[in-house]
Symmetry: C2
Subunit: 398 residues, 2 copies
Amino acid sequence: MPISFADRLNNVETSAIRELFKLLGKPGIISFAGGFPDSAMFDVDGIREAVNTALSEEPGGALQYGATEGYQPLREQIASFMHGKGVKDLSPEQLIVTTGSQQGLDLLGKTLISPGDKVIVEGPTFLATIQCFRLYGAQLISAPVDGNGVKTDELEQLMAEHKPKFVYLIPTFGNPSGALLNLERRKAVLAMAVKHQTLIVEDDPYGDLYFGEAPPPSLLALSASVPGSRELLVHCGSLSKVLSPGLRVGWMVGPAELLSRATMCKQFSDAHTSTFAQATAAQYLKAGRMPATLAKVRAVYAERAATMGRALKRELGDAIDFVPPQGGLFVWARLTGAGGKVGDGATFAQRAIEKGVAFVPGAPFYAANPDLSTLRLSFATAGLEKIEEGVGRLGEAI
Amino acid sequence: MPISFADRLNNVETSAIRELFKLLGKPGIISFAGGFPDSAMFDVDGIREAVNTALSEEPGGALQYGATEGYQPLREQIASFMHGKGVKDLSPEQLIVTTGSQQGLDLLGKTLISPGDKVIVEGPTFLATIQCFRLYGAQLISAPVDGNGVKTDELEQLMAEHKPKFVYLIPTFGNPSGALLNLERRKAVLAMAVKHQTLIVEDDPYGDLYFGEAPPPSLLALSASVPGSRELLVHCGSLSKVLSPGLRVGWMVGPAELLSRATMCKQFSDAHTSTFAQATAAQYLKAGRMPATLAKVRAVYAERAATMGRALKRELGDAIDFVPPQGGLFVWARLTGAGGKVGDGATFAQRAIEKGVAFVPGAPFYAANPDLSTLRLSFATAGLEKIEEGVGRLGEAI
């Protein structure tokens, strides 16, 4: 029998993603294609200590069903962690724990999006966000981005024109753009939220991964100084990029009414996030190991980013254009056409694979009007020599 | 600003659930209200050993992003575990790991249910299933149940009449009915699936918790002997009731095309189930501790069930009617009206709370036409003395 699937599945087109993954399987490939942190950065000893403490001190809490909102000691640790990042007034009850920040996105879709509702996202934005919101029937509007993040004038025009259900932004070292929304634009976004009475979703999995100076405060931290903006702001955080994606521990801060509905939806999505992982994360944060872990990953990724940036300039010259990232995991680049040898990002990706190096073409990251000349290069998982060698191969491919 | 939520939230009514939970907070209450296993049964030492082995042998696998389909060593262990339960021909690729079996239900809803689609469930059935499917817009049809599980003649009439998207059953010690679908009816269900070309979902979180003889084979195991039925069968399993709910490790077996779509949906729901929990579960199963754990929990729950059954007969006599459970966590009972002192299950629950004992009235477990005289009593989390004392209080309350 051919199974008759739900209509919502017609809203997503996954072949672009599958095509990307097909590129990655060849042996000997140096990969700049991943979107994940380096396993070698994981603080295995710290996590081992944390899980053993959790199982000794609170085996029931770590192994039994738990509250859908999250394991209370973890909510307290996350509130304290956010306090350290400039969010001074956050109580544990003002956040819920999610199964990675991906689930935060899913709960926003489930809670807010009716089929046909409009949602504004950055162009480019996170691929799984596009598909996640489309599964709920969202009509996505794409707001342009430059090296300083989303262009706020254009964003405001789109908000006024489309009256979206919400605006989804990754303001700090976004995937894939790596861009950092500057302070002036952050304040403008919050002012626009109030002016247009429109929900803003700040997805912030990369904000801790800065290389030099700390980035401007998150929209959540800044909302304290923009009256009325806090009740229009949702913030999604994650331990995935700095501690371990395998824990699947994220969180969502938002207006009480929204968190209440999201909790209800989560109850029927997965009951609650693994208490085993939550209790481990709580003990890890409580043990005070996070500052040292962050210092280490920042230093390692900073060096890799700088190495990739220098090599790209040396090997590809003016054939590509990019803003050196100040944090995160990615270099987002545009083929300029100089030299005229390669066409778009997808063609260049094919040529690069033939030379033994993989990256991801940028077009699939656009919900609309893709810039075909773009590409995303991750510097996170290759060591310095591999980065030099891989960029050398890119130079041969161009 | 009042947030404008998605239309789908209008499909669920959670006040019934909230009312249940409000009953449970009082101090000194003996609770038969829970739906969870006893924390004292958890094999903490075995889980500690498993997680430490996982972190030593495969720290990357346990802490990094993983495949959406599941961590391959766990898929292999689950296939082997299912083999031990009579499913002889299951390959690891024929199952996906889910974040508890609750996520299996959510993925079925997301993958299969368009608003207005009909789904047949048992009356009564699992409360979170009702709400989960309704969030996706399902119109639920309720099939009657007796002490031998769903009444198959009535079920077939409903299938012919409503042509549902699928039929959802908990054939073995279901929540809340505790009923065991007998072998004859199991074969009838599979034959009906083929005859009506209708998907059957077998939710089986309790099948391992039998007290005497093993129950009849699962629908999944039996499907090997009913030609054409396997490709119409989905089976959801879980470690929650026998090992630990906090791991949030469940699985779903189903037709390849359905698993493929469910995997795509899962990618945008939570990316993957915690690899930290999956690697721990895989090591636990690999270590061979499950048979001893199962023997222990079966013996403990069997004694508690027998104690509760005897006490109910002694203290409440012919004022209630119930089938002594052969497994699972629950006694499902009906107030007969004998003695005439209490009305429906909800009224009796209020009286019982006043006497210091809690249980859950049965009406909310019906998607339609609730039997108001019903109640669910869990014997899982109270020791033998508390069971005697709590049932004594029920006797006072009636």
